[in-house]
Symmetry: C4
């Protein structure tokens, strides 16, 4: 008797999805642990609460970012019929960078509160590095899917995942650029890119193929 070839090699995606949901749910929730009751003299609570604004900004931006990762994850997996081992590892790589995200976020938030230019440049560069690795993990994921049609649902368009790679590549390039500009020239430029990129990924979470003419044109040109 021999096992069917697929057993344990390929599997439906339910456990991958539930494990990923669990990890992302925890990351998005742990962020609140960084919000603390301000310590200070009696009568100065209002002052203390307002002083923590960079912590609130970090909380909101991290929350948005993890939310966007989850939306993109959901959009991708709604197109995947079965997972193999390499896709499992690519997914674990995405989760690894998503779990890491709150750490550079607090580094930037702390640096903003302490008004030291050198530290702010370092913090921006550090955040950009993690952002670039996060985009790289999505690039690897989309690239693998664009080469393995057999893992996808039948009705997925052939050009969908190849075009998605562009979204991830945009992230790698812009994070590296923001890190360099932020470190060498002006930290603020880096911050602006950090805020805009998740918005871009949020708006395009249904797939670049659907929101820009690029994908359509290339698709029809086949």
């Amino acid at each position: 008797m021999s096992e069917p070839a697929e057993l344990g090699i390929r599997s439906d995606t339910s456990r991958v999805e539930s494990f990923s949901d669990g990890v992302l749910a925890i990351v998005i929730t742990l962020l609140v642990l960084d919000l603390r009751v301000p310590e200070g003299e009696p009568g100065h609570l209002l002052h203390g609460l307002l002083d923590q604004w960079p912590a609130y900004a970090a909380y909101v931006s991290s929350y948005l970012y993890v939310a966007v990762v989850w939306l993109n994850h959901k959009a991708a997996f709604s197109r995947i019929r079965q997972a193999d081992r390499a896709l499992g590892w690519a997914n674990l790589f995405i989760l690894f960078t998503a779990v890491l995200l709150p750490f550079p976020t607090s580094v930037v938030s702390r640096a903003l509160q302490e008004h030291n230019q050198t530290d702010q440049r370092v913090a921006i560069a550090f955040y950009a590095l993690v952002g670039a690795v996060l985009s790289l993990s999505w690039l690897a994921f989309y690239h693998y899917l664009s080469r393995h049609r057999e893992l996808l649902e039948e009705e997925v368009h052939d050009r969908f995942f190849p075009v998605e790679r562009i979204r991830a590549l945009v992230g790698v390039i812009l994070y590296v650029a923001a890190g360099l500009v932020g470190y060498l020239l002006e930290p603020l430029v880096g911050l602006v890119v950090f805020v805009l990129l998740p918005l871009f990924y949020g708006f395009t979470s249904i797939g670049l193929y659907y929101v820009t003419p690029i994908g359509r044109r290339r698709a029809s040109g086949r």
Copy 2:
């Protein structure tokens, strides 16, 4: 070949529900991290444990509140057939405010222990602000559902979600009022409203439509 219009745009609600269950399960559990073994001289453990009563009160009230959010979430999603992107974002907005909740709760709990009137007024106003935003997120959610019949299960009554908006609106108004009264006149009034509102939402979690004659009358008047 072109993808069916729905793929990636609308989807069944299973991942939205499991992600939300994960987030709410974590929030409700993290609250216990605020309960700590009292530090104090040997022989005074009983005293130390009793002194922490505002922490216990904060724990119980936050637990109840998150439980009520979960019950309302479950009641709403049992009526939703499929989710689109806007509903996904409305849900993420609800989760955002629910995750935030333990923070103003500890601010109030701390202020109660320190007997400073100014701080207590600020804490009450802060809690009221978060409560009002939480109610706003439900208002947006219910409003969207009342305009998108096509996302709902067939057997849901046409008036169900329109009437649910009233429940959320009551919250917005009462939290704002409690914040103003608590800040300007008497903090205790705010506290009483904070305890009563979750009870109201707990009792009406099956839908205002079912517990009051308002919904029925308006429904039959169509």
Copy 3:
């Protein structure tokens, strides 16, 4: 048009189970946060690690306890066909006490390390109190199920949940007794009961009906 009576009132148990799994998974995992690298002079790591033995004991016993709660929860819900609101609240009451459990556990663990008799008596009484409330929550849960045959799977024996109440009642009585004896006479007696009771619930998690002749006799006597 009117909604079917069941919608939003009764529902299948999938979300209740996944939410409960999430909560219990988190409680059982949070416990490890209490294990810390011992701070101490270089060269004394072994000593530091060994000195923390009450923390390890607390970790193991809390883990076992939450594991037993999960096994009993799973055994009960495998017999439940649908949940109504009251059952939902009974379940939230069980989760509330389970989430609370690590707190008295660390209080006892700390008291054991500090060798103060008064504190140890208080800690034992406090743990017993939480244990008794935990058993009470199961008593309420089993009692409700024994009165609502319509929520159960068809093949569940009529005597199953009525007999399960005995298990919960044993817990209420023994925890109260252990608390009184531990507080008034000898703390060690309390500790022994705290270790034995989860073992009892672990061994009988398939239902008292199956492990003792009591249930069988009463069932055949109908």
Copy 4:
């Protein structure tokens, strides 16, 4: 009326899997809490970030290890049709050791930063001990499955789980050996084994039966 024998004794594996997914998702995420913004004088952020390298190494290696545990867990459960109580306990034993893992990892990470030979030997021995217990838990799990064919999916090969025991046994032996060598002779040898073993388990997560000729030869020899 009597209940069918299986009710509450054997059950499908869905809740065991979702509970395990939850626990592993939390462990893998909690690790990031050990990464903290370095405290230090303004202008020295870069230095502070670089100084924490053992914490990053601990984070990456723990993440990889828990990921490998999850992959092996998923591979095993894709072959299990139903769980009984003993398998439930074996699974809880695996989760227990997985949850524990971050603790010895930080002990080793701290010891590496403090350059004390005695502490490093103790830390290596402690990690090896936990690693050996982790492998033991898998050995018990695989052994139980190799004796209970009736719990497995029909298409699973008879030799699959018997051969899997070898993988677990390799872990027990190598962790004990690494602990002894690391404690008595050279800590570095222990570290190398700690890095190589998860890689071995990662590469063989589809089952030793498939990656080595041992399993095939023994299987064809029947």
